[in-house]
Symmetry: C2
Subunit: 169 residues, 2 copies
Amino acid sequence: MPSKSDNVTMDAVYTAPGYLFRRMQQIAVAIFMEECRAHDLTPVQFAALVAIQTHPGIDATRLSAVIAFDRSTLGNVIERLETKGYIERKPSSGDKRIKLLYQTRAGAALLREIMPSVDRAQARMLQPLKPADRKTLMALLTQLVDLNNEASRVPLRAEDALQHLGRSG
Amino acid sequence: MPSKSDNVTMDAVYTAPGYLFRRMQQIAVAIFMEECRAHDLTPVQFAALVAIQTHPGIDATRLSAVIAFDRSTLGNVIERLETKGYIERKPSSGDKRIKLLYQTRAGAALLREIMPSVDRAQARMLQPLKPADRKTLMALLTQLVDLNNEASRVPLRAEDALQHLGRSG
DNA sequence: CAATTATTGACAGCATACTTACAATATGGC
DNA sequence: GCCATATTGTAAGTATGCTGTCAATAATTG
């Protein structure tokens, strides 16, 4: 606690949860990019590619809900994945507004190849902690993200994709 | 654990530390922006403003080390703070390359006014957890960020600013 | 069935975050 | 003092992440 109420110190930044979350995110991205450099795939593109593989024929709006991504941003991500040949966009026969997303053979191959690097990256992020502490941190973070889901601008809606699978074509 | 080794599920995304860190960062920024909407200041701009108040006459390179920010990004952040009238850039008498950063009266006033909102935002981020769990999470996260400091592209170097105070003019 | 409302994808704009490159300037060794 | 090297700020380019808006199309409702 600072001695004077109007004298802000750097502790107001360094001990703030928001600062630590941003810092950890920076570190996580740096480690991911370092491990996956050879595969030319960002963390976001990886998540999108996995989601498209898991939910073939999903559309962009539902994809954004499945990986808790902003829809506007996702458009560019999809475009990059398409340019690189990892996914395809096909018009829907039922709904002329939407474009269905499918993984290509190259996309599936890339995902197989990159998994070890991704696993290494994820392990490296937590490596400095003792195993028990890693579990504690992940448990608390999982809880917190879940309980704060509605606070983010793009809440996670993992179920929407399943609804979709039951209707479109 | 998936039953087939080549069949990736969304768990590969949802349980990955990197995904949780990104998600938590999204949530933290959303909460900060919501609480501080009236003050027209982003989390990054807030950190920069605090650092400039704490280290008057710091230059951009040292500032980037003090708040663990990319130097290129920081150029734009500084420009926005200057445009809004919260800081000033003055040439250094000793080194013609650098521009020294100072907080304006308006910047100091803004910082005073915004602190309650910032505190509220930081509290809200952790609120869903029990008090004991908040402490545990912050302690582990502080450790992890510190131990992973060198892994990020812009490691935190809090001391550099102090070195600077002892030489420039 | 027609009119309102909602959804979808695209786009423009702002703000981080990082990479590389560059010009101006400092600093070091010689 | 001169030259190789390093530092500083800036800019261009890429990639998220968000806010809006818009047109096309669907779905709903009177």
